[in-house]
């Protein structure tokens, strides 16, 4: 098998920085969805070395639903314990970091994303505009997982929101 060149969803898109806030495509490697079979959650937990509580991230595990999580990076063998699907090619990852990150995303998400309410290692399955997404709070910003086919729309939405806030902050009143 020849070594093919994998193109990411926003291949070639340069990062955008406005008001010290940067929007960039993130490379997060393999994504595997793990959905525990009924009654097998305890065993799945053992193999994975834990399982994230609802709306949290723990290590390379992201909670994505009831008894369901995404594993970033190499996933262990869970045959017989969980429904495991490779989702690597299905998602685009965007990272928004900087002082306007929360305000920008709060224009698109119906959630309170201020650090006091949505601290680091919190995650949410929530709509970005009308798009399904997974939002993860990081140290200085957010990681957004969006369906790959919607990557450019998501970029456009976030870019527009960030531009609006930048214009407002620099406007003379």
């Amino acid at each position: 098998m020849p070594n093919l060149i994998a193109k990411s969803a926003l291949f070639g898109r340069a990062p955008l920085t406005l008001s010290g806030t940067t929007l960039a495509e993130a490379q997060i490697g393999p994504i595997t969805s793990v959905a525990a079979f009924r009654g097998k959650l305890a065993k799945v937990k053992k193999v994975l070395g834990g399982f994230p509580a609802p709306n949290t991230v723990s290590g390379n595990l992201i909670w994505t639903g009831p008894e369901q999580a995404f594993v970033l990076g190499q996933a262990p063998d869970l045959s017989g314990l969980a429904a495991v699907t490779d989702q690597t090619g299905g998602w685009a990852a965007l990272r928004l970091s900087g002082p306007l990150a929360a305000d920008t995303l709060m224009r698109l998400y119906p959630l309170d994303l201020r650090a006091a309410h949505f601290p680091k290692d919190t995650c949410a399955r929530a709509p970005l505009g009308h798009m399904q997404s997974i939002l993860i709070a990081e140290e200085t910003g957010f990681l957004i997982l969006i369906f790959r086919s919607m990557a450019r729309t998501a970029w456009h939405e976030i870019e527009t929101a960030l531009q609006t806030l930048t214009a407002r902050s620099s406007a003379e009143i």
Partner: protein, 90 residues
């Protein structure tokens, strides 16, 4: 309007899909007379007051919720996971 998803917390109404009455949870047993099925599928009350219905957390965690609300005051009184009910995850 906001609904509190037992898993995700309080969320906006736009994240949810409204399915209909809780009657859909009460399927007649096997061999039940045709009238019981007819009732389950078609017979609805239309209360002015407390009602229970099913909502799907569509752009959230994908859970089905049983929501108790008041159609007169618009108060949302309770939400619970259908999967957490007896036989709910079957």
């Amino acid at each position: 309007m906001r609904l509190t998803c037992p898993l995700c917390g309080p969320r906006d109404r736009r994240e949810f899909y409204y399915s209909g009455t809780e009657d859909y949870l009460n399927r007649p047993p096997e061999g039940a007379p045709i009238e019981a099925w007819d009732d389950m599928l078609h017979l609805r009350t239309n209360p002015a007051g407390v009602t229970k219905d099913l909502w799907y957390h569509e752009t959230g965690c994908g859970s089905w919720l049983l929501v108790t609300r008041n159609t007169v005051t618009h108060a949302v009184l309770a939400t619970e996971l259908v999967a957490a009910r007896k036989g709910g995850a079957a």
